[in-house]
């Protein structure tokens, strides 16, 4: 069964895909994402392919149930892709040379443009789940792309608020946030000519970070070559700061938020990348529980200002090691 069911209370779609429960757990003998094993026949630098266990289909089946009254169902038309960052199984995004990350950004950009042009795709969501604690089923360095037939609810709500702010103040809410974080300074983790990373004032997770381009870009479609190079450096440094924090490969969810591709103008939207690491200490997880799941209100028992300093110190250690000091 693969279909979308409407929640009339929150007015949002829930995607039901029963076949996804057949996904393999971490394989012990051979990785299906390594060259020549299962999914990819030959060696590669970066590869994108359609997910074997998708939530959305280019040619979806009709829903198993008929829509009736409150119970509304729809076919789950969209695209789900897997992005393999490298053929080298034991690396992570943090380990890749900056030039390779630059090429990955170009591949992300290509996917955003191509999938966003499909008539049934309203939102292209590029993300990565990293680490077993996140529930990753394959450890090979990879991310995913979901090309949604609708704008997902969290993003839809944010868009409405940003649009309202833009209409009222004549200014991008995200640009205002970026300026405020820079002015405060305390929560900045790193910055360069093109990008700024901070632990946001309103962070829900202890080591949550937000990456903004300084220029008002709606999506990777608008990024310049210089900015893409700056973005590759920013990601390289941020991810290595995470890994230096406790001395192990740090788990996270990476979400790249770009302008919807629904055909409407969203000039008030500003590209940003959020990282949601599920750790609150080296050996303690932050798991969304009763309050977060039940009410939507996050409880953060750390100060974003203190966590930003920890990340700055970790970045400093990594830079010293990189530079042989």
């Amino acid at each position: 069964m693969s279909e979308m069911r409407w929640d009339p209370f929150l007015e949002e779609w829930v995607v039901s895909s029963t076949h996804r429960s057949e996904r393999p757990l971490l394989p012990e003998k051979s990785c299906p994402l390594c060259p020549g094993v299962l999914e990819v026949a030959k060696d590669y630098q970066i590869v994108v392919f359609e997910n074997r266990y998708p939530s959305f289909y280019r040619h979806p089946p009709m829903p198993d149930v008929e829509s009736r009254g409150l119970f509304k169902a729809a076919s789950s038309q969209g695209v789900c892709e897997v992005v393999l960052y490298t053929s080298q199984h034991d690396l992570s995004l943090a380990d890749l040379p900056q030039g390779h990350i630059f090429k990955l950004i170009e591949a992300w950009r290509d996917r955003y443009c191509e999938l966003g042009n499909l008539p049934y795709v309203d939102y292209v969501y590029i993300f990565e789940n990293k680490g077993e604690v996140i529930g990753v089923t394959l450890s090979h360095p990879h991310g995913q792309i979901y090309a949604f037939p609708f704008i997902p609810p969290k993003i839809s709500r944010e868009l409405a608020i940003a649009n309202h702010h833009f209409a009222r103040k004549g200014k991008c809410l995200y640009c205002s946030h970026l300026e405020a974080e820079i002015a405060d300074g305390e929560r900045i983790v790193l910055e360069n000519n093109f990008f700024v990373v901070s632990v946001p004032f309103f962070a829900r997770y202890p080591y949550e970070t937000r990456v903004y381009p300084r220029r008002h870009l709606g999506s990777l479609e608008e990024i310049s070559g210089e900015e893409a190079w700056g973005m590759s450096l920013t990601l390289k440094e941020l991810l290595n700061a995470y890994d230096s924090l406790f001395g192990y490969s740090f788990p996270y969810i990476m979400s790249i938020y770009q302008s919807p591709t629904d055909g409407a103008r969203h000039e008030y939207f500003h590209l940003h990348i959020d990282f949601y690491p599920p750790m609150r200490a080296a050996d303690k997880q932050k798991i969304p529980a009763g309050c977060e799941v039940g009410t939507g209100t996050f409880l953060n028992d750390t100060a974003p200002e203190a966590k930003a300093k920890e990340l700055r110190d970790a970045l400093h250690r990594w830079r010293e090691k990189r530079d042989g000091r």
Partner: protein, 62 residues
């Protein structure tokens, strides 16, 4: 195909779930394309109805 640093306006028709006309029969477009710089994009069939895209470039670039 566009390269990094270029942009295009691509207005498209708004569709709704279960819209039977919301297909792009030309997708995916199999073949080999050049992206920014020396990046090559090769779109192939996986043989089971899915597609696969290889992105490749000379290792000493950009």
């Amino acid at each position: 195909m566009q390269n990094i640093g270029e942009s295009s306006e691509s207005p498209k028709k708004k569709t709704e779930p279960n819209d039977t006309e919301s297909e792009d029969v030309n997708y995916p477009r199999y073949g080999i394309y050049t992206l920014g710089g020396d990046m090559i994009k090769s779109v192939e069939s996986m043989g089971d109805g899915r597609y696969i895209i290889y992105y490749s470039w000379e290792e000493d670039s950009p």
